[in-house]
């Protein structure tokens, strides 16, 4: 258990010299008390954690905010045992210590501005704080959220590292990491996009409520795996089955009657908008607006060829590939799959050749909702959190993917998703994170300008 720094932090030394020795003793004593307090506090909020790591973990909830970061030595190894202090404007300072992975976190119970400083005396030998002028930094933190701040280490004392370009610094390692994240996002998008594309192909409808199907998957998985404590795989299976059932029910109670009623596609599209609004607020009604986590344990990471992803990510990618392969097999090799493609090509002709179009559309809705649900479960695991607008946020990416690949073509949706996913993540290499979705949507608009039918679409579809 690490209690307190044994001497006054260097940065404060100038001040303590001025106020004299007696004062610094008082400071030291009070810091001892604070450190003890902070350790007890952090112990209380890190249930079951091992003693040394107490103050390096922090779980966000409605009454807790986290100030956190990861410390690496100048040769990119985790720096362990470094003490970091967060002092609120009024009240007692809190401390945290970096663990074996270099991670540190300080749970706070009051929102506000904290002065966060690193205790340079606890740094590993031969390591010094770079940009020491920014040691006492103000960090704004609110409850129920995380605020990150990074300290950089260097081998020379008093070094300054220019970070202005660090976001743009190109390295193949970073490229590989972002590319892999892009493939991961693309695979998860593809699960949802194929369903949307099949629905569009068979019915001509752009469903704005498809994003909510994704959210539903994530929230159901949270309900079963976290709230009810079921085994994750079982929870995922139940979630997919329920999601598929909602697709079946939607077609049975909403879309088929409306098709029979002869509503135009524009009207149907507005119906999906209404459904999307109703579902979004229903999610908030039942689950609140906060982000919930399907698995509460901190995810483990695995590094393969310099690319670090969570275990969940690798599993999710594997499952996506299997399911997408299954979907491809279904569409290409089975009788029903061929019938689906026939309806997608030309419903009237398909009906004339003896295919039960309504049955195919029912199947497509069911499968589409099931796939979207599965996508939601895995997005929730990969992003380590799901909330009422998870699906809303990726809906436009799904649209972009489907349009890019060619509306109504299942394989176009797959290719489009991979391209969109990779573009979104690679954008981070050159532009700040705020722009990553905007880039994908911008590319969507450019595509519509020059090749509105998409990569695999046919000219006559665009009318």
């Amino acid at each position: 258990m690490i209690l307190v720094p044994t001497n006054t932090p260097p940065l404060r030394s100038s001040r303590s010299v001025r106020v004299g020795r007696r004062h610094s003793l008082v400071v030291l004593a009070s810091m001892l008390m604070l450190g003890l307090l902070a350790t007890i506090v952090s112990l209380a909020f890190a249930p079951g954690a091992a003693s040394a790591a107490t103050s390096s973990t922090c779980t966000v909830d409605a009454t807790t905010g986290c100030i956190q970061g990861t410390l690496f030595t100048s040769d990119r190894k985790p720096a362990e045992g470094v003490t970091i202090t967060a002092k609120p404007d009024s009240g007692d300072a809190l401390t945290g210590t970096s663990n074996a992975a270099g991670k540190w976190a300080i749970p706070v119970k009051t929102a506000g501005t904290y002065t966060v400083s690193l205790d340079e005396s606890t740094l590993p030998s031969g390591q010094y704080l770079a940009n020491a002028a920014t040691n006492d930094r103000k960090v704004q933190v609110s409850l129920g959220s995380q605020a990150g701040t990074l300290f950089q280490l260097s081998t020379t004392k008093g070094a300054t590292i220019d970070n202005n370009n660090s976001g743009n610094d190109f390295s193949w390692q970073r490229f590989a990491q972002q590319l892999m994240s892009g493939i991961r996002l693309g695979l998860l998008l593809a699960l949802a996009a194929i369903g949307l594309s099949l629905v569009y192909g068979t019915t001509g409808l752009q469903s704005f409520a498809h994003g909510e199907q994704v959210t539903l998957g994530g929230l159901l998985a949270y309900t079963f795996a976290n709230v009810l404590g079921l085994n994750l795989i079982l929870a995922a299976i139940i979630t997919v089955v329920i999601s598929a059932a909602t697709g079946f029910a939607q077609d049975a109670f909403i879309w088929k009657p409306l098709r029979k009623k002869g509503l135009s596609l524009t009207q149907l599209m507005i119906v999906t908008i209404g459904l999307s609004i109703a579902l979004q607020y229903a999610f908030q009604y039942f689950y609140g607006a906060a982000t919930v986590r399907i698995q509460t344990a901190n995810p483990k990471v695995v590094t393969i060829a310099g690319v670090t992803l969570t275990v969940q990510s690798y599993v999710a990618m594997g499952i996506s590939i299997l399911v997408l392969g299954g979907a491809a097999f279904f569409l290409l090799r089975t009788r029903t799959g061929r019938a689906t493609r026939a309806v997608s090509d030309n419903p009237a002709l398909a009906a004339a050749s003896g295919i039960d179009v309504d049955r195919i559309i029912r199947l497509v809705w069911t499968v589409a909702a099931g796939l979207a649900g599965l996508s939601g479960v895995m997005l929730g695991l990969v992003l380590n959190g799901v909330n009422w607008q998870t699906g809303l946020q990726i809906l436009l990416l799904i649209f972009a993917a489907v349009t890019l690949g060619g509306l109504g073509t299942a394989f176009g949706a797959l290719v489009g998703s991979m391209i969109v996913g990779i573009i979104v993540e690679l954008t981070n290499l050159v532009l700040p994170g705020d722009f990553k979705y905007a880039t994908a949507l911008f590319i969507l608009i450019i595509i519509l300008l020059f090749r509105p039918q998409g990569i695999f679409g046919r000219r006559e579809r665009i009318g």
Partner: protein, 328 residues
Amino acid sequence: MDYLVQLFQSLTVQALAPSTAAFAIAAIGLNVHFGFAGLLNIGQAAFLLLGAYGFAISIDRGLPLFAAVLVALLCALLFAFILGLPTLKLRGDYLAIVTISAAEIIRMVGRSSILTDLTGGSNGITGNTYNGPFQALSPLPDGSTQILWFDYDNNGVNGWWIRIVGWGLVGVFLLLIWALARSPWGRLLKGIREDEDAVRSLGKNVYSYKLQALVLGGLIGAVAGIIYVLPSSVQPDGLGRSTTFFIYTALLLGGAATVFGPVLGAILFFVMRLLIQSLAQSFIPDSIMSTQQTVQFSYVLVGVALMCLIIFRPQGILGNKKELSFSV
């Protein structure tokens, strides 16, 4: 009885609020797109946001009020051209996807941290940086006035002046739309909505007329954006997709392709939502539905109402079903 009086008063206050007027103007603009020309624009909120940004930033940079309004209109004009030129030749649902995507791009760029100096990032722009010149324009004397239970400052940020201007503009735009709808130009737009090819066969440049409609509706949307943010602040996330969807609900409730439909719809939208929320708050015990949940409950009903409207009464309250076929 007291409860009913109070409820009635709060509903009428909501009905005449500046935000209702702004919604009504936005719906009038959307009506030009969707009701008259049949353009499925799902990015109306972006016109509002651009208008608001253009206005607020210009004033903050020291431009006079009328120049700021011009800048706001110019932003919307440019946006309409950028949106319309590539997509108006394509089928309707492409326009839908492009408009909603472009609206999201505007919002994301507006709230990005790079532009914090210009747009205030995700925090937006606070009202007091730009509403000064507008209040200075007010001819009303200082102090406050009470008419019935409507009691506001004459020149306050959220007082009589903004209400008078807001609803005055609603009136101006109603007049404009009334005149346009019965002009040859308006009839041509309706013709495009009903059968594009028929209009084209008459030798009319359908593309150009669609673009004109998109621009006009967008400019009206920008004005709505200015009215919307004057009593409050510019919040990029407050003018996102949901706003567009709510404007659609208001428009379809009142009746698309009618003159008064958007205004009636906007008033009813706010009043009904507040009514549902108030009733749920008063009569459903907290143990079943918390205060927060009554708000969400009212929005769930908004979504359901939108679905039911478009299915069972697509012409809305004032519309004529024969006139509107929604075949995009």
